[in-house]
Symmetry: C2
Subunit: 322 residues, 2 copies
Amino acid sequence: MTIDDIANALGVSKATVSRAITGNGRIAPATRERILRYMDEKDYRPSFVAQNLATFKTRNIAYTLPTDRESSGVPFFLNCLIGVSQAAAARKYDVIVARYEMPEIRRLVQDRKADGVVISRNLADDEIIRYLALRGMPFVVVGTSDAPGVIQVDHGHRAAARELTALLLERWGGKPALICGDRNHIVNRIRWNGFRDAVIARGGDSDEALVEWGASDAGSVGDAFRRLYAAGVRVFFCSDDMICSRLSRCLSDAGEERYPGVRMACLYAGGFLGLYRPDVPSIQTDAGAAGECACRVLIDMLSGKDVPGRTELACKILEAGS
Amino acid sequence: MTIDDIANALGVSKATVSRAITGNGRIAPATRERILRYMDEKDYRPSFVAQNLATFKTRNIAYTLPTDRESSGVPFFLNCLIGVSQAAAARKYDVIVARYEMPEIRRLVQDRKADGVVISRNLADDEIIRYLALRGMPFVVVGTSDAPGVIQVDHGHRAAARELTALLLERWGGKPALICGDRNHIVNRIRWNGFRDAVIARGGDSDEALVEWGASDAGSVGDAFRRLYAAGVRVFFCSDDMICSRLSRCLSDAGEERYPGVRMACLYAGGFLGLYRPDVPSIQTDAGAAGECACRVLIDMLSGKDVPGRTELACKILEAGS
DNA sequence: TTGAAAGCGCTAACAC
DNA sequence: GTGTTAGCGCTTTCAA
C-alpha cells in the first residue's frame, strides 16, 4: 500500500496525505484526522526509503563499537548500545553499528548511511573524531574528549572518585595509592585526578609515587601491588573493576595473611566486580543511561535544537561494608 | 554528484552507468572499465537510498540484542555482534540493532528497515521467531533452535561437552555432577546432553540426580553445590563460566579445605572464566566466528544461494593443568 | 486549505 | 551493447 492508494481511497491528493504524515504545511485538522485514522485502520506505514530519498535523511544513527579483544569483554559497550537503541527507537530512529576503524567510518559517511553518530570510546587525540568533524557529520561522544567543541556525555567520574577516596581515607586512614590502567585512556587520567584531589584535600601532596600506571594483566597488577606494598601503601584504589579483580585474586593466591592490613576500593565498577567482591567499596555507573542520554542529545542536535556541550550524569557510590 | 553527472561527463546514458555499477545487464567491458575508473577518480558513491527505493532492498541486516540485565553482561553478545558486523561490512551490508522485543521487531519488519535478521538468542519456543517466519522475513539463529526449518549456526556444544566430560572422568575418577543454568535455555539442555552422553558411555546411568538446574546467583549455586557434595559428588561440571566463578568463590569463601577433593570444570567459557581461574578445564567458543558465520549464511540466503540448515563450529577444549 | 507536478537518484524493461 | 523511458514512494514548491 502506498500514499496513492490512500489518496484515492479518501478522494484527496497525494500531497494532502503527505502533509498528514509529516505534519508539514497547512492542512485542515479534520482531513488530517480522517487520513490518520484511515492509515491506522489499514495498518499502513510510509516507506522509510522513499521518505529518505526525498528528504536526504536516513533516520539512522550510527553507534561505534571498539574492536579490540580487550574492550569487547567490557559490559559497558553493550549496555551503552542498549541505551542508545532505546532512546533511538523512542524517537523512531534506528541504530546501525560501525566498528571503530577508519575505513568503516569513512564508508559510513560516504554512503550516508546515518544522520549522526554516537561514539562510545574516547582516546585522547583521535583521527576518527577529526574526520567526522571535517566532514560535517554530527556526533556525540560518550565519555570525555579533550578535542575542542566536542559534544559529550559522561558520568562525573572525577567528583565521584574524589568523594569515594575522601570517604575511605577518612574511614581507613593508612597510606593510599592508585593502581591505574592505561594512561592514554582519558577516563583513567580523570580518575587519577579525582583521587589526587582527595589526597591533596587531606593535606597530602600529588606525588606520582601514589599511582602505578599501565596495569592490565595479572602480572602487571601484581607487580604494581608488590612495589606499592613494599613502599608502605596499605590502602589500594583500583581504577576499574578488572584491575580490582586481579588484585583481589593476586592477594588470595598469595594468601591474604601474607599481606596484613590491606584494604581495597574500586573507582569504577562496570559489571565485573559485583560478581566477585560485593564487599569492595566502589563507584557504580549506568552505561545504559549514558547511551540513552547521548542518543537523545544527538537526535536533538539533528532536529536543530541547541544542546549542552557537556552533560554529566551522577555516579552511585557504594560504600559496601568492610 | 549523481549518476547523471557521470553519464553526461562520459557521453553515455544513465542506464549504462547503472549497468557499470550493478554489474547487471550487458555492457562492453571497455566502457564498464572507463566508467568505473571515472567514478573512482571523482570519489563518487551511488546513493544507497536511491538504490534501495528502486530495488526494494535496504542492504541492512538486523541483529537482535537481549535486553535483560542478566544477558547484557555476557561478552558473547558483543563479540557476536562484532563478528556479524565484520561479515556484513565485507559484503557491503550494514548492521542495525534491534532489541529482542516484540514491538521493536514488529516495527522493524513493518518499516522494512532490514533485509534479514541474525538472532543471537534462542529460547525454546519463541514468539519472535514465529512472527518472522510468518511475515517471510529471512533470519538465521546463532545457537540452536528446536523450531522446524530454522536456519542455525552454532558451536558443537554437545560433542564438546561429551569430550571434555569423558576426558576428565577418565583422569579424575570420582562421582560427577553438573550444575546447570536455566533449563529453558536450549544450550543448557544441550550441554547436559553432552555431559550425560559421557557419563553413560562410562557405564553410568542418566540419573537426574546428576544435575542441578536453575543455578544462577551465588545463593543457588552454593545450595546446589552443598546438596551435591552431601550426596557424595566430588567432580563438579558447570554449564558456564558464570556459574563456575560463583562456585569457585563459594569454595574460597568457605575455605577450600572444608571441602576436600573437589574438582571442577566448565562446559562453556564465554570470557569471564579466563580472568579468574585459568586452571579450570573448559570449553572455549568463539562468539565472533559464530556471528560472522551466521551473517555470511544470512547474506547467502538473501542472494538466493542454497544454505545449510545447520552449520556447526568446532569448540576448543582447554585442558589446563590441575 | 488543497491539488498538480516536478523532483529525489537509481534500476530495469523494452526498443534499437 | 547502448539509449529511452517509466517507475520506486514520498516531499515540496507553486498555483488555484
